[in-house]
């Protein structure tokens, strides 16, 4: 339970940090970093999210249960993403074995 009162100064400081990060991420969008653009954008987004969660949402001062609940949610989302992406992007890894062509014949029709 959050009886802890976060000082106004802290809130304002976090707010300014969030604004800076927003400016940063928008600025980086105009610089060519190749594949790293996505990575940098996500890293900045995660940082912003952590600031909001820990300070604005008081999780830094919350119980262990609250923290476990939040970690669990992201872990489960990660499960969904990981397994699904694993399927989609490894489908083409298995070439058809060349031996699976004409050497396999259809089974004989069943005797009635």
């Amino acid at each position: 339970m959050s009886q802890h009162v976060v000082p106004v100064k802290t809130y304002v400081a976090i707010f300014l940090a969030l604004l800076c990060l927003t400016a940063l991420t928008t600025g980086v969008a105009f610089i060519n970093l190749g594949a790293m653009n996505t990575v940098v954008a996500l890293v900045i987004a995660v940082t912003k999210m952590l600031l909001v969660i820990l300070i604005f949402m008081h999780v830094k001062y919350s119980s262990r249960l609250t923290k476990i609940v939040i970690v669990a949610a992201f872990f489960w989302l990660g499960l969904l993403l990981t397994f699904t992406l694993t399927d989609v992007f490894t489908r083409h890894w298995t070439p058809s074995p060349s031996g699976w062509g004409p050497s396999i014949s259809a089974p004989a029709p069943r005797e009635k």
Partner: protein, 248 residues
């Protein structure tokens, strides 16, 4: 409204006899006694249950939006040129402005909770109203963007016929897929904001009636959690939709 239909919005148990409402600072309401619902043993249990309940609800929201993010990630991986081109068609200035607006609303929401915690009723109401103003501004800018997309023939299913030639590697169906995600994810987010504005309205009304105090401010805090969550969704939507489109 008939009495039997009037479901109380907040727990209306017996006010705690030893209400400590009167002991905090100036500007607080005089009759902000604690209300404990009958199933709870004490105010602490009620506060903890309410907070945990909201966090569990936010978990469901993370999975709800998460399904969309997963689908988005897969299609972005499959059709990168189309998604990048689509991203470049979005207005980055409006997107950045909206991000700043929403972050500001999170600040005012946090300050509203702070005001409630320190028993400052007028500040509480002011910050709640400011949060609503920022939220409405966000929605206004979003609506403006939607109208522009309509004018540019970029609304999937309803009006999709982009006029400019598509770059190499970009097909029309794939581009439409990007805009499906753009509209659906931002619309779902917007819907959550509208619900948030509704919740804020209720809180403003109740604050004006003096329901909250330094000892009983759980609904403000819990609604704040919801509002910050909606902000976090946008913190991810913004880069994924607007920023990683190869604007260089």
């Amino acid at each position: 409204m008939p009495k039997w239909l009037r479901l109380p919005l907040l727990p209306e148990g017996m006010p705690v006899a030893e209400a400590t409402a009167v002991t905090h600072g100036p500007g607080s309401s005089q009759h902000a006694a604690q209300h404990i619902a009958h199933q709870f043993v004490d105010a602490d249990q009620q506060h903890e249950a309410g907070t945990l309940g909201m966090w569990v609800f936010l978990v469901t929201e993370i999975m709800f939006f998460g399904g969309l993010f997963a689908a988005y990630a897969i299609y972005r991986g499959l059709y990168l040129p189309a998604f990048e081109y689509g991203s470049r068609l979005l207005d980055i200035r409006l997107g950045t402005t909206n991000t700043a607006v929403l972050i500001a609303s999170s600040l005012t929401m946090a300050l509203a909770v702070h005001s409630a915690q320190t028993g400052k009723r007028k500040a509480l109401i002011a910050f709640l109203l400011l949060t609503m103003v920022f939220g409405a501004t966000f929605l206004g800018i979003k609506a403006y963007e939607y109208v522009h997309k309509w004018d540019d023939f970029l609304v999937p299913g309803l009006r999709f016929a982009p006029t400019e030639t598509l770059p190499a590697g970009v097909t029309l169906p794939n581009l439409q897929l990007f805009f499906c995600f753009y509209f659906f994810m931002t619309a779902l987010h917007g819907l959550h904001m509208i619900i948030g504005l509704g919740i804020m309205t209720v809180l403003v009304i109740l604050s004006r009636r003096g329901r909250f105090s330094a000892d009983y401010y759980a609904p403000i805090e819990i609604s704040g959690l919801y509002w910050h969550f909606v902000d976090i969704v946008w913190i991810f939507l913004f880069p994924l939709l607007y920023l990683i489109g190869g604007r260089y």
